[in-house]
Structures are given as C-alpha cells and as structure tokens.
Symmetry: C2
Subunit: 477 residues, 2 copies
C-alpha cells in the first residue's frame, strides 16, 4: 500500500462536482444512509463543525448574545402568521401529521427556520423598554425538503445557528444586522481563510419576510459563488404580524424592530471548495481539528518513536493539536492519508534524521518540504502554521480577484459567462425587470450590492439607464 488507492479521487479540473463528492467521502467528512437527502456527518467532519461552532459562539457571546433552544416543530397556523414568510417556506417543509398512532388535530412542520417561534416567545416576554434588546441565538438542525441534494451544500436536514434579536429602535436593529455580518466576514477571513464580499441582496434575492438581507459571498475554485452567511433586517414586519409591542420610556406602546442571521454547515462546503486540491482536503490551521501530524519512519525504531512522542507532547503544551500516525501502514500510505485529511503540517522523522538532529516538515497547502533542526522544532512549526494560514488566504484572494471581471453590457456578460465562471461586476439600474432578463439570458443571478461599490457614472448593463448600484453577479450554489 503506497497511498495510490486512497489518492484515487477525480481531478478538480476534470470534474469539479465529482471531485467535491470524492473529498467529502474519502476524507471521511460524511456518509450516506437510507435517509434520502440527509447526510451523516462523520467524526472528522463534525470536529470541523465543532471548531466552527466554538469560534462563532465565542464571538456571539462576546457581543452579548445568549443561547436558547426552541421547539423543533411549528404549528401550521403559527407558520402562516407572516404572509411573505409562509410563502417562502411552506413549499419546502416536512410535515408531521401523526403522533404515535393518532392523527394530530393540526399539522406541525419541522422548522425550516425559527422566526415564528422566536416572535411568539418575544411577544410573551418583552413588555417594557427595560426588556430590550433581546439577543438570542440557537444552535440546531433545520429541515428543507430539497429535491436535489449535495453534501453540506444542500441537504434536507442541515445544522446551523440562527440568531434572532429584537430592539427598541430601527437604528439599533440595523446596527445589529451589520455587526453580525461583520462577525461572519471576519470569521471567514481570519479563521477559514476564505475572502468574502460583503454586501446587500437585491429585493429579488431577499429572505422571505425581510426588509433587507445582507450577505457574505465567497467564490469557489471553479468560479461559482457561494452565499456563506446572511443577516436580515426585518423592520417591524414580524412585530406587527405577531403583536410584539413594548412600553417605551415615553410611555408609548411601540413595535419592536427585529433581525435574524445564520451560518450553516454549508460553510464546510465553502471551506472544501476554496482550498482543497487533487490530493484531498486542505484545511487552514485555524480551523483544523489536528494541526500537526507526526509520521515516524523505520519499523519499531524506539528512538524515533520516543522522539516523536516527545515532540507531540511539547507541541500540545504550546496548544497545538498534534497526532502521531505510528500505524503499520507504509510511510507513503500514511503521507497520503495525512494529505487526504488536510492536516496543515506533517512531520516526517526517521533514524537518519535523528542522527543528523533534524526532521522534515511538509506543508499541506503547497506540499513543500522543509528541513529543520530538531532544536527549533516548536518555533518552526508555529512559524509555518502562521505562514500557511496567511498564504492560504492570500492565494484564495488572488484567485478570487483574478476571477472577478467587469462588463458594461448584457452581451459582454453573456459572452464572458459562456467562457468562464467567476464574479462579474456590472452596473444596474435597480429594476427587477433587468435583473430577471439577466437571469433568463445568462442563468446568472445577482450575488450582492457590495458595501464599497461606487455607482457614480455607471449605466445599467441591460437598459442603459443611469445605474443605482454596482452589483456582483455570478452563478451560485
């Protein structure tokens, strides 16, 4: 066994979709079951999700948010209280109709999202301005009955967090909406090494029931966009539908202003499709469940083994997660396994290395080898992990920027989109009709109106009228 078998995954340049599925399976992130459209998240995939949870949860709590747990069921009548919301979700929910052998008097849907439950609860517990703001979040699974599914990207059940907050003023709610979007963006860039475009969705692409939807958009290796986190400002729309009122300082009864925001296991799909390669997963050190793996070479060499365990111990003391693969498999197979799992740094150490007081560090992102002295092993590993994290982000950003083009007309957009995928920047008048025409003629949708986009002298790429916005367009997952 030299790892060839393990490495037999489709090349990402030949069949990107198959390559993606191969990575999910061979890196043991997921498995299938007899539950159609749902996935099993295996230990390695779940360990990545646990790290994502830990990082985000820390940021939520630091900004004053509290976790709660709402029921997983929503009575049909409750779901129907907000018109736009029910229209958006009812077609794709799973319905519970029986409890044991009895038919229920009212159908319950398995939550596709929990706005309605939070609204009902807030209407119950918020009475006065003193009760505001309420900054709640929940970690849970949700269900949307998708027709076609793909691991992490689209499955009938997925894990996520959904934040739901209510505020005394619209200003405060808007500030919260953007604060959480920025937390998502920072998390993506600093931890996952995924560069994102922050912006607002067009009306057409808004969340069902929202007044404004903000998004972070990432570009995958194949040039397809992936919405990686969203934050919604609801105004007082739900508040009116659910009668969420409070007594303000001025003794006036007022409606609350509301937000919601979410990131799901979908982000693991983004992680895979941004960084990984034909050898398998590539994980940024800041999210990798295991940052370093040591592979001792030379059968039953106790000196090598002892030294490997010493190195592991000292790395762990520095807070660096570290595993040792001293299994009986050939070195080549163990190298290939470490590569498939995307462990950022691999340490190879054999009897000859020991004699020379050195070892080999292999960085997963570039597969470059580095010979280092055993005297400085900890410093070298720490330096290398930092270097990998930074260069993974930079590489992804340069690629994203390279794949971002500007066009002035619909014809140019069409020609470009037939040639290659990527972000397309183009001016837009703000009319739904033009947006619809773009989708019809190119299959491309608006990704977002970037926060820093100018619209000074632009003309709409479809109708030629004065532009309202610069927009990022693209194919999307």
């Amino acid at each position: 066994m030299d790892g060839k078998e393990l490495k037999e995954i489709t090349s990402r340049d030949i069949d990107f979709a198959q390559w993606y599925t191969d990575i999910c399976k061979k890196a043991e992130l997921i498995d299938y079951s007899s539950v159609k459209g749902c996935m099993i998240i295996r230990p390695y995939g779940y360990a990545i999700w646990e790290n994502i949870q830990k990082e985000l949860d820390k940021r939520f709590k630091e900004t004053g948010h509290q976790n709660v747990y709402m029921p997983m069921f929503i009575p049909e009548s409750l779901l129907q209280k907000e018109k736009d919301h029910v229209e958006g979700f009812a077609p794709e929910v799973a319905w519970v109709t029986h409890g044991g052998s009895e038919e229920l008097s009212e159908r319950l849907c398995v939550r596709p999202t929990s706005e309605t439950l939070f609204c009902e609860h807030y209407a119950n517990i918020v009475k006065s301005y003193r009760d505001l703001p309420k900054l709640y979040n929940q970690w849970c699974s949700v269900v949307r009955w998708e027709k076609t599914t793909r691991p992490f990207l689209r499955s009938r059940e997925f894990l996520w967090q959904e934040g739901h907050t209510v505020h005394a003023t619209s200003e405060e709610a808007k500030e919260e909406t953007l604060k959480m979007l920025n937390i998502y963006a920072d998390f993506c860039e600093e931890v996952l090494a995924i560069p994102v475009i922050k912006g607002e969705k067009t009306e057409k692409e808004r969340f069902a029931g929202a007044e404004a939807t903000y998004t972070i958009e990432a570009l995958m290796y194949n040039g397809v966009a992936l919405q990686s986190g969203t934050s919604h400002y609801f105004g007082d729309g739900f508040a009116r539908a659910f009668n969420m009122k409070f007594m303000d300082r001025d003794n006036q009864e007022k409606y609350v202003y509301q937000t919601s925001w979410g990131v799901s296991t979908r982000i693991i799909g983004a992680l895979i499709m941004t960084h990984s390669d034909d050898h398998g997963l590539v994980l940024p050190p800041n999210i990798a469940p295991t940052k370093v793996t040591i592979i001792p070479i030379g059968k039953n060499n106790t000196e090598v083994l002892d030294r490997s365990y010493d190195i592991a111990k000292i790395l762990k003391l520095e807070g660096i997660t570290c595993s040792i693969d001293d299994s009986e498999k050939s070195p080549g197979f163990r190298f290939a396994e470490a590569e498939m799992r995307g462990i950022p740094v691999r340490i190879e150490i054999g009897p000859r290395d020991l004699e020379n007081n050195k070892c080999i560090l292999v960085r997963r992102d570039t597969l470059e080898k580095l010979e280092v002295s055993l005297d400085n092993i900890v410093e070298e590993v720490i330096k290398l992990l930092l270097e990998i994290q930074n260069s993974m982000y930079l590489r992804a950003k340069i690629r994203r920027d390279d794949m971002t083009k500007s066009v002035l007309t619909l014809a140019e957009m069409k020609a470009l989109s037939e040639k290659e995928n990527g972000f397309i920047k183009a001016y837009w008048c703000g009319d739904r009709a033009c947006e619809d025409q773009i989708k019809e003629e190119t299959g491309i949708t608006s990704r977002c109106i970037p926060f820093n986009g100018d619209n000074q002298d632009g003309k709409c790429l479809v109708c030629g009228k004065d532009a309202k916005h610069l927009v990022y367009w693209g194919k999307q997952y």
Copy 2:
C-alpha cells in the same frame, strides 16, 4: 419592590409539583409556546445545559469518544429491523408523511433514539477488527410523543447525548457499558452534587432491545426516584438484525458487540428537585453559570461601584464567573432575584462596609451570612464555593440515606409506601410475577439492583423464596 412578588412561589412542602413548575418558570429556565408538549429552554436554563454538555463532552473525549451527527429522520422500515426495539418505540414516535406538498412514499419518524441509524452506519464502515472499536456520540434532540408532559422531566422533544459504540468482543462492550455508567455517576456526584445509586435494571425495566441496562438512580426531595442516566449492553442482537460483521484477527467473520448510553435535559429536573428550596433554584457551584453575584448597596455611590467592579475583575481572573447587579431595583428585590436564580454566593457591599473594609457573603444553599474582610475576599469566596459544593452533596446524601428504608415483606412495603416516599430496599427472587405483583399492589417499581447489594440470606418479599437480588424499589418520575 422588595422581592416579595418574585418570591411568591408555592412551598415545596405544600405542593411539590406546583413548586417545581414555579421554579422552572420564575428562575426563567423554561417557557411554554403554542407547540403543545414541547418547551422553550430560556437562556438561563440553556446555560446550565451548556455547562452539563461541556463537562460530559470533556469526559467522553478523554475516554476516546468522537462526536458525529446522524439524520433526525428514520425510515419506517429501518426502525422495524429490530423487533423489540420497534415495539418499544413505535407507539410514541412522531411521523413525517409529507415533504412540501408531496406525500412521501415511506413514512419517516423523527428519531426517538438513534440505534437503528448507528447500526446501519456501522454495518457500512466496519469491515475489519482494525476498524474496532468505534466510539461515537451525538448531541441532539429527540422526540417521543408523550401524553402528559412536564418541563425537563417529560416533554415531547428533549435534548440529550446518545453514545453508540461497537466492539470486537462482548467483554470489551460490557466494560464500555460500565465505564460510561461510572462517568455519569461521577459527573452527577462531583459536578451536580447529586448522590446516585448505581445498578442494573430488572428485565422488565430494560431498554427495548438491550441485554442489560445499567442506571444511576437519584432520590428527589419528595422521595420520588429519578433515573438520571442509563447505559445499555446490547450483546450482538442489533448486530444480527443489521448484519454488522467484521473480519477478526483469526480470519473469522464475527458479529460486533454493541452499547449505547444517554443523559438528557431530564437531569436538570433532578438538579432542581434535589437542591432547590422555597426561595428558588439552588445551584451547586460546579455547574452554576454564574458562581458569584455582587450587589452594591447605596444609590450611585461610585466608591462602592468601583470596588464592586474591582472585586468582579479579580474573581474573573481566578476563573470564577461573576456578575454585578447594579440595577435600580431595591436591594431586597435584587437579593430575591439572586436567590431565585440559585447563584451560589452573593456579595453584599455598601458604603458602611467599605468604611470598615469588609463585606457580606451570603451562601445560597443555607442563606447564612458571613462577614469577611475585603483583604481576603478572593480566598474567602473560593473557600466558600468549595464548602457549598461539598455540603450540598452531603446534605443530599444524608437526606437520601434517611429516606432509604428496608422491608422484608410486601405488607411492610405497602404500609411504608402509603406513609412516605423514598427508596425501599427489599430482597427479590428474580421472578417477573413477583415484580408485577408489587407494582399492582403498591404502584412501586424496581429502580435497580445495586452493584454492591448482597443477597446472601434474603427471602423474596413477595413469595418468600430464596432471593436472587437485593433491589431498590420506589415511585419514579
């Protein structure tokens, strides 16, 4: 406002059930919604659950377990694969029959427990002895369609962890079953300060499909028993039903041996009913989301406020979670709130205290007041938290032991159980008929056969034949 209103909860000696519900509501652990039989776990309740999760998860990982996530749905045909199991659970599951507007070709139940899914997965991924053991756990919510529900104790949806492991030998699986029971018992006693009896369930009380069920049994303040965690040994029963085979070292194909074990949000019910009192919740320091609260007295006294924040800062540096309640409510109201929430230590500090370089510590468990010098505040708080943790456990254990009586005959058991609740120790021949008769005549069920129980010279309390076991009996939640 002096906190009287807040304190208006039913006395536990007058109406224990109402007292319990009052605590759940007034300490803001839960709320109700329009989803019948399900509860909302509010921030304070969820913070307790997060601490429980953190403590247990650490212990699981230290013993080599990995977390995974299985689908929340189970196809009807999969649930039916193991006969005893489906008989145990089918009557109380929720059925999904429609996805969007389409009727499903096969009904899916919302998982009441996930043995079947884990079995299917293990059958897929375990091929050789090299793949064993697999030590998986998942944190999730499960659904059982209960007729009558109570917060934490019995609700249609609840949160839990379910561990599922497979092993090459029955010895190893049995060892795992007991190892996890011991982890549960240690957690209950060391962290929750709840004394438990470890033992085995009788055949009648076994988990559906198990060869042996082990349990930890706690006794509530009112003398009713609460099963607080269970660990099941399945032998190869599920393995045969699901064809879970592996190639052993000796080149023989063999069935795996299996375990499962779980603790749920029910344990929060045990926590409440073991320690709390007529002033509200009482939390052991080792699980309390906030260990200390500081209540500055004297309006707008900056010196008192500054000193309070200094104390909070220094306690946090010592890793002691600490809040300050400097709201405009009266001191009495703030004291009552801190008591309702069961915060282990309250620090009262006013201008006169400052002058004398002292403050008052109030321990929540006994409501005793302690005057301490501000110079030793940290040492005194640390000492007091330890003292509270220990004495809460001891007090619960002494009460439990006081409420544990022995009887020799069914007549004695009947008389005793009509007089008071509690554990009843009695010898039993092992026959189901005698066990059934006890239930019929007294309403009492077997709680467990304790690990350290002798059965040397005993006679069955019903039939008078030689006893097989000493058994703990009792009324149960």
